[in-house]
């Protein structure tokens, strides 16, 4: 007992205590729910069996039912569009801005940091603002598009099934661009400057320097940012809740919102769990890519 106490005070026991509590907590509150999720996806769960662990086991019935539903494939398709559109927009605009701010001028780093307000704001507030900007009759975006002659009639972003998903994508691009830009700036800053001096001496123009130095040197950063983008877009929930609620008629519904909707609006916890399991597999895949591309950092 005494040896144990002195080890905790002045030995390896100290480290073990420091690590054991947080890891235990994470295991209880994140690891166990994950396993419980998988268990529920193979069970029949309704309001009556909610209080017990031993529910009727139904095998793959939940999965079969899920894919028999007519809305499943469109929603999976929406998720793919949402993820690709958001990542492409965030990355391209973010990269452009990062390249611009890379040219050092006084005030550059302060102004660049200011962009990050979009990221620290609560998602619900961002959603509320965009909901108002995208409003059909009185939205300021429609006004600007009309004035510049891009559209002739108002687009009903939130209620037109052809546009509702894009309404959320626009808001999500705004939300995530700054984060992409900041991380890309870090990557750009770590490229050694003498590479460019050498290329300039060899007569390479700006375009060639970008393709032969900047992009290859940024490869691992870009890999990490795209996989982080995938992880973050699959976490995006607040904007759907604030702008379209997945509607109209599931036209802007994505899996992460649908899973919640099934569990907490339709009280079909088994289906909610089933979708969660499917999506978590995807997210895990993305995070393996992310961890691999930051493994230099992880290994120290």
């Amino acid at each position: 007992m005494k040896r144990l106490l002195s080890s905790i005070r002045d030995g390896n026991g100290f480290d073990i205590v420091l690590v054991a509590f947080p890891l235990g907590f994470l295991f209880l509150m994140a690891g166990l729910p994950l396993l419980y999720n998988i268990l529920m996806s193979f069970q029949e769960v309704d309001m009556f069996s909610l209080g017990t662990f031993l529910r009727p086991f139904v095998g793959f019935k939940n999965y079969q039912d899920l894919f028999a539903q007519p809305e499943t494939w469109p929603i999976l398709g929406n998720t793919a569009i949402f993820v690709t559109g958001s990542i492409a927009g965030q990355f391209l605009i973010g990269f452009g801005l990062a390249l611009f701010f890379w040219v050092n001028f006084p005030g550059a780093s302060w102004l660049r940091g200011l962009f990050l307000v979009s990221w620290v704001m609560p998602g619900l507030v961002v959603g509320a603002i965009w909901n108002w900007i995208l409003s059909g009759d009185f939205g300021v975006l429609n006004f600007m598009l009309r004035e510049t002659g891009i559209i002739s009639g108002n687009i009903f972003w939130r209620s037109d099934p052809n546009y509702s998903l894009y309404a959320v994508i626009i808001a999500n691009i705004w939300l995530g661009t700054a984060f992409n830009m900041i991380l890309l700036s870090v990557g750009l800053a770590s490229i050694p400057g003498d590479l460019y001096e050498a290329a300039e001496l060899d007569g390479a123009n700006a375009w060639q320097r970008f393709w032969t130095i900047t992009l290859p040197m940024m490869r691992s950063t870009i890999g990490a940012i795209v996989s982080l983008g995938l992880i973050f877009t699959l976490q995006q929930f607040d904007l759907f809740a604030a702008i379209t609620s997945g509607g109209p008629n599931n036209s802007s519904n994505v899996t992460q919102y649908w899973a919640w909707d099934l569990s907490f609006r339709q009280y079909d916890f088994a289906k909610g769990a089933t979708i969660s399991v499917i999506m978590i597999v995807f997210v895990m895949f993305a995070s393996v890519v992310y961890v691999r591309s930051t493994r230099h950092e992880v290994r120290g």
Binding site: L50, L116, L124, W132
Partner: protein
């Protein structure tokens, strides 16, 4: 073109781009000041003709914002305290050693960081209801947020601890400090700033958290401001000036903290996420 002129030109372009990017924020502040009729004017006015300052007081009273923000504060502070108490030690150990166990631990932590809250809420809710945790809904939300955000905190704080020279700790041990003493007297004070910045980031996240609060907290008087904003925005609402006033009151404290501590927050964020 001389260097000063080039710098000025770049600065002007940068300010214009920042203004375009931050336009939604401006639109929120402006709409909150407009009257009911001015809000729906075509073409929309980009500067309120008669700023309505009374909207703030009206929304604060009629929506019971004091209670919502109080709940948000409780949830945010609770999460930050829980995460800091648990996460700092974990980050310290993961920064101090380099072996295969640390790699495995970090890998698991990074994996937990990526689980979407809206997908994890189903098992958490069912599990909590079985354990009777739903009787303490704010505590349940704090625990759920802590489990969600702690990995991010650990990754950020670990980067801070790695910047503390190990020689300092070894010197303290040689001078007769115990491990506990060296940790609290030497390492922790040196890492204080990094821990503080990470805690602020966690605070801002928890202050705006929505999924867990919306799903777990049923009683209106215990809900945080994010859920209050959500119930304020019905499907066919036309009170946009009031909603934007609500949003302004809600985000202004966060924006103020961010602008004041911007440099530290940005550098803290980038040091942990990607090297």
């Amino acid at each position: 073109m001389s260097d000063t002129n080039r710098n000025r030109l770049m600065l002007v372009i940068a300010i214009v781009m920042a203004a375009i990017y931050l336009f939604p924020l401006y639109w929120m502040f402006i709409t909150a000041l407009k009257s009911g009729s001015e809000m729906f004017a075509t073409p929309p006015s980009f500067w309120p003709s008669e700023p309505q300052r009374s909207t703030y007081a009206f929304v604060w009273e009629s929506r019971g914002m004091g209670r919502y923000l109080w709940n948000s504060l409780i949830i945010a502070f609770g999460s930050v305290i829980l995460i800091t108490v648990l996460g700092v030690g974990c980050a310290y150990v993961l920064a101090r050693y380099r072996n295969v166990w640390v790699d495995i631990g970090l890998f698991l932590i990074l994996m937990l960081q990526v689980l979407p809250a809206s997908l994890m809420i189903t098992p958490i809710f069912v599990g909590f209801s079985q354990l009777g945790m739903l009787n303490y809904p704010r505590l349940a939300v704090i625990i759920a947020i802590a489990a969600k955000s702690m990995p991010f905190f650990v990754v950020l704080v670990r980067a801070t601890f790695m910047a503390v020279p190990q020689e300092l700790e070894e010197a303290a041990l040689v001078d007769g400090n115990s491990r506990v003493g060296a940790f609290f007297n030497i390492v922790l004070p040196l890492a204080r700033n990094g821990i503080l910045v990470s805690a602020i980031l966690i605070f801002m996240q928890a202050f705006g958290e929505f999924v867990y609060s919306k799903s777990i907290i049923q009683a209106v008087e215990l809900q945080p401001a994010s859920v209050g904003l959500n119930s304020f925005m019905g499907p066919n609402t036309n009170e946009w000036n009031n909603i934007m006033a609500y949003a302004t009151i809600y985000v202004t404290p966060i924006l103020a903290i961010f602008v004041l501590l911007q440099r530290r927050i940005v550098s803290g964020l980038t040091s942990g996420a990607i090297k």
